[in-house]
Amino acid sequence: MESNVEDFLPLSPQVFHILLALAGNDLHGYAIIQEVSAQSDGEIMLGAGTLYTALKRLLTGGLVEELEERPDPALDDQRRRYYRLTPLGKAVAKAEAKRLAGLLKAARNRRIIREV
């Protein structure tokens, strides 16, 4: 599984944010956009094109899965599909976070940024 995880790295910021958004909850497309915007302080605003292109890759790679259950038509839009992070997706997000933490540590050691 470890070598499999490495194959996906490095992740683009958008993809990493999508995985992080799904790490908290199972979400539908628009909720992912909102969650990504919130967790990046509005810095990353995903469009529908970018989101679904990324989701397609994540689904093909097995990092994300679509939930079988459909929303209740009385409560939610039937066109919505919900997505969930798979164990592989979680491992990839963890590996990417580790990789970024390593980069951050190197930048701190070189005094490019200060300790927060």
Partner: protein
């Protein structure tokens, strides 16, 4: 709200840029996200904000759709695309070195015919590509200091349209022959 509804057919049209399997899988969801994002933006930032978002979405759909289509393009299409570029440059080279148009016309017709015969589905894509060969080679040749056998106005649309039309004749013949072969 009515103004925002105008974007719905436009988005549906732009979704055609995506490959069919992608559209069938994600099209409805994407439409749902686009309409929800538009109406949410209207509530938060007013009509101007919503229109800006909708227009940005159009550009984004175009860009992502074309990228997706290129990504999913089969290897054979890429190879034939390269062959089309080679044919275009060859036709341009022939035209650059001959003051009679027959040789270049023959190169254009044969190129269009062969490419359409191999890949009839994309026959209309190859013809403008082949048509670009002549003005491109004339332009590059002159920039490099070579003199053509006869002068060609590279800035004129006819310099591109005429070869493209000639290549189209070859392509039509290629498609027809392919259909006849398939039927028999």
């Amino acid at each position: 709200m009515k103004l925002l509804n105008c974007f719905t057919p436009l988005w549906k049209l732009l979704l055609l840029l995506y490959p069919q399997p992608f559209r069938e899988r994600f099209g409805a969801e994407m439409m749902q996200v686009l309409t929800t994002a538009g109406s949410q933006q209207r509530q938060q930032r007013g009509m101007a904000g919503a229109i800006i978002l909708c227009l940005t979405s159009c550009g984004e759909l175009c860009w992502c759709g074309m990228r997706q289509r290129l990504e999913e393009m089969p290897m054979i299409t890429w190879l034939i695309g390269l062959l089309a570029v080679a044919c275009a440059l060859f036709a341009g080279y022939v035209d650059f070195h001959n003051d009679e148009v027959q040789a270049a016309a023959l190169a254009l017709i044969v190129s269009g015919f062969v490419l359409a015969l191999v890949r009839p589905k994309h026959a209309l894509l190859w013809t403008p590509l082949i048509g670009l060969g002549i003005p491109l080679v004339h332009y590059l040749g002159r920039r490099l200091g070579y003199q053509p056998a006869y002068p060609v106005l590279t800035s004129s649309a006819a310099t591109f349209l005429l070869p493209a039309f000639v290549a189209l004749l070859g392509a039509v013949a290629g498609v027809v022959i392919r259909k006849i072969v398939r039927l028999s």
